[in-house]
């Protein structure tokens, strides 16, 4: 019942995106969950979160980026350089972090070296690192400016007019994704973590109308679905760096755990509730408020408390604190979290990994196995 989501999470140019492009409609990739996808949707564009799981090498990424940098932007550049992003009509780079924001210049340079690598619409979208009034003002201007750029490039007449419908559509998605969490309760879990993350990732990789429709079908089926086997399986929460790799979750669950919740920026990281209001300003305000990303200065305690609340409400037995190698933000955040979780008696495992197709399987498996073995004793 989750095949369409799994396909979308594994393949960026999946069947629903392919259909979109065949219908002659544009697709614009973006790098960060702080980009208000509603605005692109109102412009008639499919907003697609850029992902790099389909690379089979990094020679292009490594030609532009230096060695001491996160693999995620390197994989994205590799995708672009090997033609896997050729279906994009545009891309928007956001300073989610220093590594990711340099994708902007690396991609432009690669575009000069390899014709066709750079989409015709290419923009840089700034996001402040705090939530003060003047930061909100700045962000609103960025959103308005983005709308202007989209209008100009995609010859869209009425972004403002179409925005309320887009907001409603995305609000509905958020409501449905929240409902999905209700099917992950202890002793009545109807969906594995593998499938749940596939749904979250797919939300960034499909036309929103298709996603909502498919998720409604899934939710309806889950009402009558048999619970997954849970006995003896520790319930895990996964948090840390951006993770769109369902194979990692699969690895954890194959090792004898059940991933019952995530706090990562594909899906559940941002706590945007329902966006009230119909304007670009209300969208801007909602996207900046309540973000839990460690790129926002000084929000560790909020993030920690939010994770603790999720641990409690999801009956979590252990936490996986993962970060991509050279991700300084999550790498350090995980250090603080580990100490704070330990004070509360909550077991956690810090693991460092590379972004990309799962090539470190055995190394990660050993650590995950050991962690699961160590907390299983607590369950009896």
């Amino acid at each position: 019942m989750t095949e369409i989501f799994i396909e979308a999470s594994k393949k960026i140019y999946n069947s629903s995106v392919e259909q979109w492009t065949k219908d002659g409609k544009p697709v614009v990739g973006y790098t960060c969950s702080h980009l208000p996808a509603e605005v692109l949707h109102a412009a008639g564009v499919l907003p697609l979160r850029l992902r790099g799981m389909e690379v089979s090498g990094l020679e292009i990424g490594d030609s532009y980026f230096g060695p001491f940098i996160c693999t995620m932007p390197r994989c994205l550049l590799q995708m672009a350089g090997t033609g896997k992003f050729d279906f994009l009509e545009g891309a928007i780079v956001t300073p989610g972090c220093d590594s990711m924001r340099r994708l902007d210049e690396c991609w432009r340079k690669a575009g000069k070296d390899m014709e066709g690598t750079l989409p015709s619409f290419f923009a840089y979208f700034d996001v402040p690192h705090k939530e003060t009034d003047y930061a909100h003002d700045w962000f609103k201007k960025e959103v308005l400016s983005l709308a202007g750029l989209l209008k100009k490039h995609f010859v869209t007449e009425d972004i403002i007019g179409k925005l309320p419908a887009s907001i409603e559509l995305y609000n509905h998605s958020r409501k449905l994704i929240k409902e999905l969490q209700q099917f992950r309760k202890k002793n009545d879990c109807r969906i594995t973590g593998y499938d749940a993350l596939a749904v979250s990732v797919a939300s960034t990789s499909m036309p929103r109308e298709v996603f909502n429709s498919e998720l409604e079908k899934l939710l309806s089926k889950l009402k009558n679905a048999a619970p997954v086997k849970e006995k003896g399986k520790p319930r895990l929460l996964v948090t840390g760096s951006a993770t769109d790799d369902i194979q990692i979750i699969g690895l954890m669950e194959d090792s004898g755990a059940l991933v019952a919740a995530e706090k990562i920026c594909f899906g559940h990281f941002k706590t945007i509730g329902t966006i009230e209001g119909n304007s670009l300003e209300s969208v801007a305000a909602a996207y900046l408020d309540g973000t839990e990303c460690p790129r926002m200065f000084g929000k560790y305690e909020e993030r920690r408390d939010s994770i603790l609340a999720l641990i409690e409400e999801s009956d979590i037995d252990g936490v996986i604190l993962q970060n991509i190698r050279f991700c300084d933000l999550h790498g350090s955040d995980n250090g603080l979290l580990e100490a704070d979780l330990r004070k509360k008696g909550i077991p956690s495992l810090r693991i460092e990994r590379e972004y990309g197709p799962l090539v470190e399987r055995e190394r990660l498996k050993m650590r995950i196995d050991a962690f699961i073995e160590s907390i299983r004793g607590n369950l009896s």
Partner: protein
Amino acid sequence: MSITAGCDVGSLTAKAVIMEKGRILASAVIRSRARPEEASREVMDLALKEAALSINELEGITRTGYGRGRMPFEGKEISEITCHGRGARWLLPSVKTLIDIGGQDCKAIKLKSDGSIDRFITNDKCASGTGRFLDVMAKVLGVPVEDLATCSERADHPVTFSSSCAVWAQADVIRLLNEGHGVDDIGAGINNAMAARVAVLLNSIGLDGDICITGGVAKNLGVAKALETQLGCRVKKIRKADPQLAGAIGAALLAEERLK
């Protein structure tokens, strides 16, 4: 009779231990192969031969190490961290904190009072702090890796390595040799550099109770002594059996516990 076995296939060595009622009947250690199936078969055969047993007489086997998924005999797979913890507790009943320095990684483990794992941390960045670092350095120095320990005993002025990277440190070894530094002084410096890296992991997990080293590097007393200096406390020596067998011993003991 409750005879069990543990087989631990790592990147550098494969180990097998056969135990009965908490006593070692036989053990074997060999250099690993590219194929863990071959290494595990060979090392298990050696141990069985020493014990004069056939594999069918074993009542339980635990498979561990990176090659645990590909061994050609039945057995439960358990992570090497859990096995090392269990094995270390058998080797040194008072141990609370241990460091396992393997061929390709280094693990600091803290135990609960029942010998199960409280928490652990591994070195994931590079070869620095692993057996591979010593292997590479020893080769450049022209000294068998098993003789590195004696360098520390004989050194007058151990050199301080600027670099802890297994790649750059090789250049430093060559430079030091050409500058006329003695092999022992350089070897002692290598041991000290290794200990410094390992100490960071141990301090990260927090020292608690008795500390010991397992894995092949435990036999390098130069590293052990340097680690004591770094930590400012004693690192207890394992005398009950070869510390390199800790993982296989723990595996065999866990197999025995499953029988109960």
